[in-house]
Symmetry: C2
Subunit: 283 residues, 2 copies
């Protein structure tokens, strides 16, 4: 249970880690933080979104916490655990915010000490800006929070992990296996980012700005992308993403063929399908 | 010159024709309309967005007007002129709202009587709803209006056509050759619609609604599409659209290859390019 006496440690004070810290602090939890940059710690302390913070990982500090939330790049998350999991208090619950699950969750669960439990979670929220300086726990309002348990997880951990989403104010909290999560995210998020990136790479488009309507702007908004994080996430979900990309490329080819051959029936059929399916998504 | 004594005829009272009618009427012009449905005429008369209207094309009615704006599907526009151009007052100026230009403008200019002038225009505005019942001249605020003159046009006609855009309240009025217009629209508008349609055709996506963030919603908003109009516009701009689709498919393939091969350098380079270029489009 995520009772108010639980002490929460955020590892990695970026946009998401900082927003978690702010959200928990506002709800009355004691929040600590470990992050690489002294500036981020100072900023978060000054803003009052953490009660304590450090750039140095020590047994004394880490062992104070009951819940540890990792908001790091996946490979840094794994490295951190290799180095420091000895410091963690027995019985502590570990969770994360990583955008891919299969390649992270099983590895972490396998390497973890037997008296610790890790359960994956993915807050589907973000902004096109970075760093704790832009942290804002309101980004979770209206957003989705997905818990991705495996056979290794206890009902108690699943419940606590869901409660994290509730405390932070997510609109919808759901549960998916790591596999189903990665398939869904491969299609809804990674594929759409690939499309936007490919589209912006088509041409030097400065001269088109004056002619651009909302369609192009909406479609390419996500082409502003953190290349370090997203290239890592893409490659960690490589097989799933490739199969989603193949699926899209196939539909795009069918449409292209219909246009080339003047096949109005296929064209109209695809447009009717897209119109119907898109209508499900109107809020 | 678009002086207030000029009588304006709208042929085709749909969303755009109706919004033109409303815009001109509000600015004090006398606006008439010819459209197929009696219901649309009655609605527009009752709302006071036209001064007169009819479903029958007669010499007596058509010859009253100085400026005729065609807001019809392209093939209906051409048919209309074949049948009825004899009725038009000598010296009248004709323009349109068609979303493709090369395949329309030259054909119309070639078939037209010598004492009439046609100049193409494209109001880049629209909504995902149809019909005069949804007409609203505010859709032009903030939007682009493009005049597409050819060597056959007079400076006076170009100026009057620009004034139409000014009176209707467009934010930016510009001028492009039909060829440049179709290239630009092939990339910015038609290609993006193709992408959205292909993406929605990938899978029955009802079960994904709960996990969908803004990225996917934004990217697929334009997948709700009028299949009659858009299939016609795609095919009228076939060669240009196909070359834009090829360009995109090539970039998408490059990205796919980089992911398949774990080529982080190419991945990051494409993301840096997309991030830089997308920044031009921030309002």
């Amino acid at each position: 249970m995520l009772t108010k006496d639980k002490k929460i440690l955020i590892v990695g004070l970026g946009l998401i880690g900082g927003s978690y810290a702010e959200g928990f602090t506002r709800k009355g939890y004691e929040v600590g933080a470990i992050t690489r940059s002294r500036k981020s710690v100072d900023f978060a302390l000054e803003k009052g979104i953490i009660a304590s913070g450090t750039t140095e990982v020590t047994r004394d500090y880490v062992s104070r916490f009951d819940i540890i939330i990792f908001a790091l790049y996946p490979h840094i998350f794994i490295e951190w655990l290799e180095k420091y999991q000895d410091y963690i208090n027995p019985g502590a619950l570990l969770t994360d915010v990583t955008g891919v699950k299969v390649s992270v969750v099983y590895k972490v669960q396998e390497m973890l000490r037997g008296d610790l439990e890790f359960i994956g979670a993915h807050p589907m929220a973000g902004r096109e800006v970075y760093g704790v300086e832009n942290a804002d726990c309101r980004i979770f309002n209206g957003a989705n929070y997905i818990v991705t348990p495996t056979g290794a997880n206890t009902p108690e951990a699943i419940e606590t992990c869901r409660q994290i989403g509730e405390v932070l104010g997510f609109a919808r909290i759901s549960q998916l296996s790591p596999e189903r999560h990665d398939e869904m995210i491969g299609f809804l998020s990674q594929l759409t980012h690939c499309i936007a990136v490919a589209l912006m790479n088509c041409k030097e488009s400065h001269h088109l700005v004056d002619f651009t309507g909302d369609s192009f702007r909406d479609l390419t908004r996500i082409a502003r992308i953190n290349e370090e994080m997203w290239s890592e996430l893409f490659l960690l979900n490589r097989d799933e993403l490739l199969s989603q990309m193949d699926l899209f490329a196939g539909e795009f080819d069918t449409l292209r063929k219909a246009i080339r051959e003047g096949d109005t029936d296929t064209l109209k059929q695809m447009m009717r399908t897209s119109t119907l399916r898109r209508s499900y998504f109107d809020k």
